[in-house]
């Protein structure tokens, strides 16, 4: 018995002579929320499409819950928020969700109740009777997210779940996803790395169709043993010198040109004292900053890796 919910071996997909994905070896564990990141064209949506059986691999193999993506036993056990799929225009969205629930084995009454349940999860229970063309882009996105929750599947793939949503709705969706984590395996593809960092335990980074890395987010970012500053301007390369007298400082990292970023890492045992001393050093050197956060941000870590 393996804990792996997704396994791919030498997975590759080409469109004509263009390889969208190549040589992807992945193993994703059950019960975890995993982020899938990478720049545009990295192959994130293609990977999701292959996992769901929308696309057929050109090379390699995929196992989802131990089965091929086309295996009938997977029906209803996995679900996806597709990035660019469109709901039917002529049927109320609540009815559409109950139709999809019926295909997962619910009878008509249960399907109606299930559609209401998932609509409540995304705070759209009152819009059940509206047709798709009466809803805003953000509402349609939430409906599409709701369909992915029908029947409490074992694996949920969410392609850009917060794209086009306002901050308040994003928080609502994040909270729903958080409530499912642990009981459900979730993979989130997003350019919003704050969402990934907030919700995921692991992250898969794709770059130009290849697997760049797959690791725990906690291993990629020092969540507590660093301070990240956004300065008024790019720091000088000799800014490291102002921390020379602090034994507790282990590393000073500078952002790329234009990022105005400074990351100061320190020893764990130094705790809050280190934070105070680092701030004092900046003040003494008369270096103003606009923002300070504890730890490193995934956004910068991933951006650094992808350059």
């Amino acid at each position: 018995m393996t804990d792996s919910i997704i396994t791919t071996q030498k997975l590759a997909k080409s469109f004509g002579d263009q390889w969208a994905l190549y040589g992807i070896d992945l193993s994703v564990n059950k019960g975890q929320t995993t982020g899938l990141v990478g720049p545009n064209g990295a192959g994130k949506t293609t990977l999701f499409s292959l996992l769901c059986g929308f696309l057929k691999p050109t090379k390699g193999s995929i196992k989802i819950l131990g089965h091929d993506p086309d295996d009938a036993s997977l029906r209803g056990r996995i679900s996806i928020l597709p990035q660019d799929a469109i709901l039917l225009k002529a049927i109320p969205v609540g009815k559409q969700l109950s139709m999809l629930a019926e295909l997962q084995g619910f009878n008509r009454k249960q399907a109606l109740a299930e559609s209401q349940r998932v609509l409540k999860m995304v705070d759209l229970a009152t819009s059940a009777h509206k047709n798709a063309d009466q809803l805003s882009h953000g509402m349609l996105k939430r409906i599409a997210i709701a369909q992915a929750f029908i029947g409490s599947p074992e694996l949920i793939l969410l392609d850009e779940p917060t794209a086009g949503l306002d901050p308040s709705t994003t928080d609502n969706i994040k909270s729903v996803i958080r409530s499912l984590s642990g009981s459900t395996s979730i993979i989130i593809s997003s350019h919003n790395l704050e969402v990934i960092e907030d919700l995921c335990q692991q992250v898969i980074i794709l770059k130009k169709g290849r697997l760049h890395s797959h690791e725990k987010i906690s291993d990629m970012t020092a969540r507590t043993m660093a301070l990240t500053f956004r300065l008024e301007s790019d720091p000088d390369t000799n800014i490291k010198d102002i921390f020379a007298g602090l034994d507790m400082v282990t590393e000073v990292k500078l952002g790329k040109q234009g990022q105005h970023r400074l990351v100061v890492c320190f020893k764990e045992e130094a705790g809050q004292l280190a934070e105070i001393e680092i701030l004092k050093c900046l003040a003494q050197a008369n270096i103003p900053y606009r923002e300070m956060i504890r730890g490193e941000r995934l956004q910068e870590t991933v951006a650094d890796r992808l350059d």
Partner: protein, 274 residues
């Protein structure tokens, strides 16, 4: 490996029919079909079709259709009901290529299939949509045939028992004749990404083959006869005889067309990216 769950096929078929009655493309077909047959039945209700039973009209009709068929239809059966039947058979390609054009095409284009495939197998979608299209077309022809039967009984003299006897045969023949066309469209609609393109493709295939057969027929009639079997209308002459024996003979060809077009369609649909 795909497997076929009949319960899911039934649900998909029911949902497809529900959507057909709600969507623009379904309503467009029904309105077009309804308006055409309302106009035809209105004309037939005047009783003018009775003239088709006369020897003079029979002579003129024999220029258009096979004289034997013309005699069978308009002399031995209710002329009004036969006129309806002949018109219905002749317009089946136009209506069915349109009505059955969107079995999977729009859902491929809009990627709606991406909501379905995590829940059901591709074979279930393919078969469910085919059955949905067959039922939509069949119900449409049943309704219009029953209306035509009522008009024929009212208009033609002493036609009651003849029409009552012919009506089931006409309905069965029409339904059986439409099925290969629906199967052809199930093939067309898995190739393209919109119902419009699918209909255009179906009509193009049909017209190109018709022209090709006509041209080949000039020099090589035997070859033309063979190629003609590729068209879903090759059984038309048998159905037009309006007898149970010929209808049963023609019906034997229907599964062959469904399997041939269906197999080609399924082969593409099972492998294509959606």
């Amino acid at each position: 490996m795909d497997s076929l769950r009949l319960g899911v096929v039934s649900t998909l078929t029911r949902q497809d029919l529900y959507y057909s009655l709600k969507s623009a493309r379904g309503l467009l077909f029904l309105v077009f079909f309804g308006v055409f047959w309302f106009w035809v039945l209105w004309k037939l209700s005047s009783g003018n079709a009775q003239h088709l039973a006369s020897p003079e009209a029979g002579m003129i009709m024999s220029y258009i259709i096979d004289p034997k068929v013309a005699s069978t239809l308009f002399v031995n059966h209710s002329p009004t009901f036969s006129a309806f039947y002949y018109l219905a058979m002749s317009t089946v390609p136009m209506f069915v290529l349109f009505a059955a054009s969107d079995q999977t095409a729009n859902d491929i284009g809009s990627k709606y299939l991406r909501f379905l495939t995590p829940r059901c197998n591709r074979i279930e979608i393919f078969i469910g949509r085919f059955i949905g299209a067959v039922i939509l077309v069949a119900v449409s022809y049943i309704i219009v045939s029953l209306l035509a039967a009522v008009i024929a009984i009212a208009v033609d003299k002493n036609a009651f028992s003849m029409v009552i006897k012919d009506a089931p045969l006409v309905i069965v023949s029409l339904i059986l004749y439409t099925i290969p066309f629906v199967a052809l469209m199930s093939l067309c609609s898995v190739i393209v990404g919109s119902a419009g393109l699918s209909a255009l493709m179906g009509i193009s295939i049909y017209v190109i083959l018709l022209v090709l057969i006509t041209v080949i027929n000039i020099k090589m009639p035997a070859a033309a006869d063979t190629i003609a079997y590729a068209l879903p209308n090759s059984t038309k002459s048998l159905f037009l005889q309006l007898s149970w024996g010929n209808t049963i003979s023609a019906a034997l060809a229907v599964p062959v067309y469904v399997l041939a077009y269906g197999f080609m369609g399924w082969t593409i649909f099972s492998k294509r990216d959606i």
